[in-house]
Symmetry: C2
C-alpha cells in the first residue's frame, strides 16, 4: 500500500508541496476550504477593483488535473487527531494519513479586539476582497447622495490601519482611485476631496525594510496623496470612525492590515504555540513528538541558520517543496541516510506602493520608485500561476495603466445599509 | 428652471433613455439599485463560470461620466407618488420629477410557489449568477467527497426548468461543463456521468420561434448531451430534487428559467396591471392618467402596430430612446405638433444553445447550427457596452473555445452547507 500524504491548505506552501509529489509512488490528498488557489500578493487589486477575482485565482483541481496521484477535496478541516493519524472534516468525515502537511496559513488578528472586525475588515480571502471593494465603492455612492457636508466627509475618508506591505498597497491604490479613477464621475463633489489615511503604530512604514527604504516608501505614499500617521496607536474602531489615542477621526471605511495570527488549526496539534499562535517546528519542519506531521508556511515558527523564516510567499513555497522531499526521502530506499535541514534562500523583498512607486531589496541592492515598480510588476506577473491569468492580468494592467480606469468596479453581495 | 427627468432602472431601457438625453437642456437623474449596468444576455456565462462579472458589467456613472446633465444615484426605490410627482428612496429620501421614466424590468416568477426559490434560484442579477455558479461548482465538489453512489448521482444531476432562451443556454453550457471543462479533474467519478435535464411545460423548446427552428434547437441540445423533457409540468421542488407530475427526479442543483414577472414597482403607479404584472401604456409609452410618467422595457405592456412588443433587449433600447425623444418633443418649441407613436423595429431574434449551436431568425431568413452561433457571437460582442469589455470577452471566449476551459470557476460567498 502506498503512503498517503494529506496536505491541509492549498496556498503557496500546500500547492508547492503537492506539486513536488507529482509522479512519486504515494497517494496525495489536498484539502482546502476554498475551491481555488489564490495568488494572494495581488488580492489587494481585487479589493480595490483593479482585477476580477478569476484573474488571480485558479481552481485547485484544475492545477492538479494531470497529477494523477493527487485527489482534491473542498472541505473545512475541523480538527487533527495526531494520535490516530486522522483529519476530521465537516460532516464528521475522517481522512487517515501516513504523513500530514499542515499549511493552513494565517488569519487576521485584532490584538484582543475581535469587535473591531465588523467595522474594519481584513484582507485574506476573495470574500474579504469583495467585502472591502463593496465598502469602498458604496462609500463614494453614499457620498453622492449625501447633502450634509460633514457626513459626506465621513464617507470620503478612507483609513488603512497597519503600514506593512498590504496596508501600503491598499493606501496607495485608494489614493489613486480618488485622484484619477473616479475623477469627474460625481456631480455633488470632486472625488479628489477624498482623504486616505494610513495609520501605523511603529515609527515607520514597511518596518521590515531598512530605514532608508522605509523613508522613501513614506515619501512616495505622500506624493500619491496618502496622509501617513506614524507612531499612531488605534484605541477604538466603530461604524463612524476610529480613535487614535484620544483623537477622533471620522471615517466610514476602515481596512485592517495591522495584524495576522496563525490559523487556529495549530491548536489541535497538541504542541505549545508561540505568541503569534504559530507552531514551533524542528530543522526538518516536522513536529518533535510527531515526525510524520509537518507544518509549513505562515503557520510554522521555523528557523533557518538560526534566524526565523519570514512569513512571505517565497518562504512558504520553499517549505512546501522541502517537506515533500523530506517525506519522499523517508519512504525511499535511503531512508536511513541523513536529510539536510531546511534552509531558506532569500531572493529579496519587494513592496509596491502605487503607480510607478515601489521599494525593493535584492541581496545588497536597493531600488525604489519606477525601477522597483517595474521589477515588482514583472515578478508578480511571472509568478502568477496559469498562463491565461498572466496574460489577462498583464492586459488588464496595461489598459488600466494608460487609462487610469479600474476594471472591476462592480458591487455585489448583500447590502447591510452601509 | 430646466425640466428634471428621473429614470428608474439602468438596464437597456433606462440606459438608452439617459443617453438619448445627452446634451439636451434638461436635468437627468438615473437611479438604480446596483452600481452597474449589466449586459444581461451574457449573464448565463457568469453563472456557468465562463466569464468574470466585470466582463459583462460596467459602472453606470462611468458610462455616463461625460454626460454632464446626468446625475447617478445608487438607491433602492421604495415607491412612486404620482400625485406629488416624487420618487421615494430608501432612507426616506425623496426625489421630485417633472418627467419620470420607469424601467425597472422584471424579476422571477414562481407561479404561486415562492417557496421554490430557495432550491431553484433564477438568473436576473450578478448576485443570482454568483449563487448559481456556486451551486454548480459545489455540486461537483460534493460529488467528489461522496462515497455513496446514489447520493453522488443526486449531486451530478442538474435540472434547468424552462426552455426559453435562458434555460436553453444554461442547459447547453452545463452539458459542455460536464463533457469537456471538468473532464479528467475528478478521481472518484467521471464528470461525463453528470446528467443535464431541461424541463419544459409546453410541447417544444424556444416556443417563441417557429416549429422548425424549435425542433432544430431541441436536436442540437440533445447532441450536446442534454436530456430534453417537453410537456413536463413541475409540481414540486425541494433541496433534493423536483417532481414532474407524480414522477420524482433526484437533483441537488436546480435552476429556474421558467417565468418572469414585472417589477413590483408597477403597483405604485396606481393603474391596473396586466396578468404578468406589467403596466399598460399608451401609444407614446406614457400613462393615460399621468402623461408625464413613461413605462418602458419589460415592465411595460406596450403595443406596436397592434401587436405586443416583446420583452427583449432591442425592444427595451428602442423604447428608452423613444421615451426620451418624446419628452424632449413635449418641452421643445413644437410641443403642440403631433409626435408619432412608438413603433418597434424587429431586427430578428437569436438564441444560443452551446458550442457551435444556435438558432436565428432575421426577417424571413432562418439559420441554425454553426452559422447562427457565429452570428450570435459577433452580435453579442458588438453590442457589449464599453470597448475594454468587448476585447476581454472576445479574448476570454477565444481561449475558452480552443481550450474547453472556463475561466471563472471560483466559488465565493457564504456556504450554506449545500
Amino acid at each position: 500500500m502506498q503512503s498517503h500524504i494529506v496536505i491541509l491548505g492549498c496556498g503557496f506552501g500546500g500547492l508547492f508541496a503537492a506539486k513536488a509529489l507529482a509522479g512519486a509512488p504515494v497517494r496525495v490528498t489536498v484539502i482546502d476550504r476554498a475551491n481555488h488557489h489564490l495568488f494572494q500578493p495581488l488580492l489587494y487589486q481585487v479589493a480595490t477593483a483593479g482585477l476580477s477575482a478569476p484573474a488571480i485565482a485558479a481552481p485547485i483541481r484544475q492545477i492538479l488535473e494531470h497529477q494523477k496521484n493527487a485527489t482534491v477535496f473542498m472541505a473545512d478541516v475541523e480538527g487533527i487527531d495526531t494520535s490516530r493519524r486522522a483529519v476530521l472534516l465537516d460532516g464528521a468525515e475522517e481522512v487517515a494519513y501516513d504523513y500530514l502537511i499542515v499549511a493552513t496559513g494565517a488569519t487576521h488578528s485584532y490584538f484582543g479586539h475581535p469587535e473591531w472586525e465588523r467595522d474594519a475588515p481584513g484582507l485574506k480571502t476573495l470574500d474579504d476582497a469583495f467585502e472591502i471593494r463593496r465598502r469602498i465603492l458604496l462609500a463614494y455612492e453614499r457620498a453622492e447622495r449625501e447633502t450634509d457636508a460633514v457626513k459626506r466627509a465621513g464617507w470620503l475618508t478612507f483609513v488603512v490601519i497597519g503600514a506593512g506591505p498590504t496596508g501600503v498597497e491598499m493606501a496607495g491604490t485608494l489614493a489613486e482611485i480618488a485622484r484619477h479613477t473616479l475623477r469627474g464621475e460625481f456631480r455633488r463633489f470632486d472625488s479628489r476631496q477624498a482623504r486616505v489615511i494610513l495609520v501605523e503604530g511603529t515609527p515607520g512604514v514597511l518596518s521590515t525594510y531598512p530605514p532608508d527604504l522605509s523613508a522613501k516608501a513614506k515619501r512616495q505614499l505622500e506624493r500619491l496623496g496618502v496622509t501617513v500617521r506614524i507612531n499612531a496607536r488605534v484605541t477604538g474602531i466603530d461604524a463612524d470612525g476610529i480613535m487614535i489615542g484620544d483623537e477622533r477621526l471620522a471615517a466610514k471605511t476602515v481596512v485592517w492590515a495591522a495584524g495576522v495570527a496563525a490559523s487556529p488549526l495549530g491548536k489541535s496539534l497538541g504542541v505549545e504555540l508561540d505568541r503569534a499562535g504559530r507552531v514551533p517546528v524542528g530543522a526538518d519542519l516536522s513536529l518533535a513528538a510527531h515526525p510524520e506531521v509537518f507544518v509549513i508556511g505562515d503557520l510554522a515558527a521555523a528557523t533557518s541558520d538560526g534566524k526565523p523564516v519570514p512569513g512571505i510567499s517565497p518562504a512558504a513555497k520553499q517549505m512546501g517543496r522541502y517537506a515533500a522531499r523530506c517525506i519522499l526521502h523517508r519512504i525511499g530506499k535511503n531512508a536511513s541516510a541523513p536529510f539536510p535541514p531546511f534552509r531558506y534562500i532569500d531572493y529579496g523583498q519587494l513592496a509596491t506602493i502605487g503607480r510607478n512607486a515601489a521599494v525593493a531589496m535584492i541581496g545588497k541592492l536597493r531600488f525604489s520608485g519606477y525601477p522597483a515598480w517595474l521589477l515588482w510588476l514583472f515578478a508578480h506577473i511571472y509568478f502568477l500561476i496559469g498562463f491565461r491569468n498572466r496574460v489577462v492580468v498583464l492586459f488588464d494592467w496595461a489598459l488600466a495603466y494608460w487609462s487610469f480606469e479600474r476594471n472591476a468596479r462592480i458591487v455585489v453581495g448583500t447590502k447591510d445599509g452601509r
